[in-house]
């Protein structure tokens, strides 16, 4: 059975506070902080993009897994901010982790769920015996139009998961995965457009809530598990509010989702969001813990996973760089003007 053999996360160390954005647009920071449950978000350095974040996460994942990078048989990178329109991010990752040339690779895009879609793909390759290990990465430096509500949340970060099936290496078996997909235009970005467009409140009910709920309920039906059977649950988190609401609707407690709820302090890392949440949950999980993960990607779809943590997690823990260490220390706060400069948003330059 395919399972996780290692993971790694990278989140840039720059932060901007909700107050600093709200001030510029004459908005009420407190109302936004309460309404969206967001306090600050990560901002990539000028020298970071979805590829550099993917590489940092991938290197940590290889180290954590304790495998030879030459044994990775497939690398998929999910992002909605691939640095090139044509030329894969995956090849940059392969070269920089020193993988073998005999590797399957591609870039994926499915808004915020491309990384979990990649996990499903490599699970199939691993279970079929086509490859020994496969890596899927969700990595983004997402863009929010200046002045748009997205500006408070669109952040940067990524996570890489290595999937394998050697019993002694797997730290969490993936018992089941299901998806729910429909053509729902809640959020999009056309080729060449700098910023995404969203249809406001439409992104909530017919988008996020409908898909997450449908996929999770399908998971309950196929596995026979209910909310009480899980130690932890992680949901996609476009802001700090939606995952709390959807968890409650599905019957999960705040305690179950707390370890994986990071958007309030790092923002929405898009393809990275649910995967970083899963990594943070695995950082503290114990053998025997059961974890539910349901991602969401606009456009729209949700992938749901049920995982069970194995004894191997403890032995590998010393090689893990904890998410709390990555996002908690070494923060550098920037003001809005610096944010604009670093994002190349200043006109006439």
């Amino acid at each position: 059975m395919a399972g996780i053999v290692g993971y790694g996360v990278h989140v840039p160390f720059y932060r901007i506070k909700v107050e600093d954005i709200a001030k510029v647009w004459g908005e009420d920071a407190e109302a936004i902080k309460t309404g969206l449950n967001i306090h600050e978000k990560s901002v990539p350095g000028r020298d970071e993009d979805a590829a550099t974040i993917a590489v940092e996460a991938a290197r940590r994942a290889v180290h954590h897994a304790g495998i030879k990078s030459s044994e990775v048989g497939a690398v998929y990178v999910g992002s909605e901010s691939h640095p090139y329109a044509v030329k894969p991010t995956a090849t940059v990752v392969i070269e920089s982790i020193d993988a073998s040339d005999h590797v399957m690779a591609a870039d994926l895009e499915f808004a915020c769920k491309a990384g979990t879609a990649g996990v499903q793909m490599v699970m199939g390759l691993v279970d079929s015996g086509m490859i020994k290990y496969g890596m899927s990465i969700g990595s983004d430096t997402s863009q929010g139009r200046p002045g748009d509500a997205l500006e408070y949340t669109a952040s940067a970060g990524g996570a890489a998961f290595i999937i394998g099936r050697e019993k002694k290496e797997v730290i969490a078996n993936i018992l089941k995965t299901v998806s729910y997909t429909s053509d729902t235009p809640d959020f999009w970005r056309r080729e060449g457009a700098m910023f995404p467009t969203h249809s406001g409140r439409f992104t909530g009910e017919p988008g996020y809530f409908k898909h997450i709920t449908a996929a999770t309920k399908l998971m309950f039906e196929t596995t026979g598990f209910g909310p009480a059977d899980f130690t932890y649950a992680v949901f996609h988190q476009p802001n700090g509010k939606f995952p709390v609401v959807v968890a409650k609707q599905l019957g999960f407690s705040d305690k179950q989702i707390k370890p994986g709820l990071l958007t309030p302090i790092i923002g929405n890392t898009y393809s990275g969001a649910s995967m970083i949440g899963l990594a943070a949950t695995l950082d503290i999980a114990r053998p025997g813990d059961r974890i539910l993960l349901t991602s969401f990607g606009s456009g729209a779809g949700s992938d749901s996973f049920v995982m069970e943590v194995t004894d191997n997690i403890e032995a590998k823990r010393k090689r893990a760089v904890k998410v709390s260490d990555i996002i908690g220390s070494n923060k550098v706060y920037i003001d809005y003007a610096t944010y604009l400069k670093d994002k190349d948003f200043i006109k006439g330059r």
Binding site: F13, D47, A51, T52, V55, V92, D98, N330
Partner: protein
């Protein structure tokens, strides 16, 4: 003006992964890679060697008047770093919240060095960051 890509491509191993060379005879380590050992001359063979990326700042400065390719990046810090395996290499040092001085321990990260105009290549590279 976008540049052709071969110049970047042929050094990717070294720029991404700090691959230098080591002399099969005297064991001297070099970065960037060399074809001829400075000590043994042509008496020995050079082999690829990937360095672990940990090192110590030997000297550093902040570039405030940059070349054209870096006009939007200045100011930025560059330094000479002595790698654990011996070679001294130049590189950018990322300013995180930790102080940078002579003797500061650093490790490598993976970053963009620069972007060639609107339509050219993105040049990825190792950079150092204080630990």
């Amino acid at each position: 003006m976008e540049k052709p890509s071969a110049g970047l491509w042929r050094k990717i191993k070294s720029r991404y992964n700090l691959v230098g060379s080591t002399c099969s005879k005297c064991g001297s380590n070099y970065f960037p890679p060399r074809i001829v050992c400075r000590k043994c001359g042509r008496e020995s063979k050079m082999e690829d060697r990937k360095f672990n990326g940990n090192g110590e700042v030997v000297s550093f400065t902040t570039i405030r008047v940059p070349p054209d390719t870096f006009k939007d990046e200045a100011p930025y810090i560059v330094g000479v770093v002595r790698l654990e395996e011996g070679p001294m290499v130049e590189g950018h040092i990322i300013e995180n919240s930790r102080p940078i001085d002579i003797g500061t321990k650093v490790r490598t990260t993976f970053r963009k060095m620069y972007v060639d105009g609107e339509e050219g290549l993105i040049y990825y590279h190792y950079k150092f960051e204080p630990v």
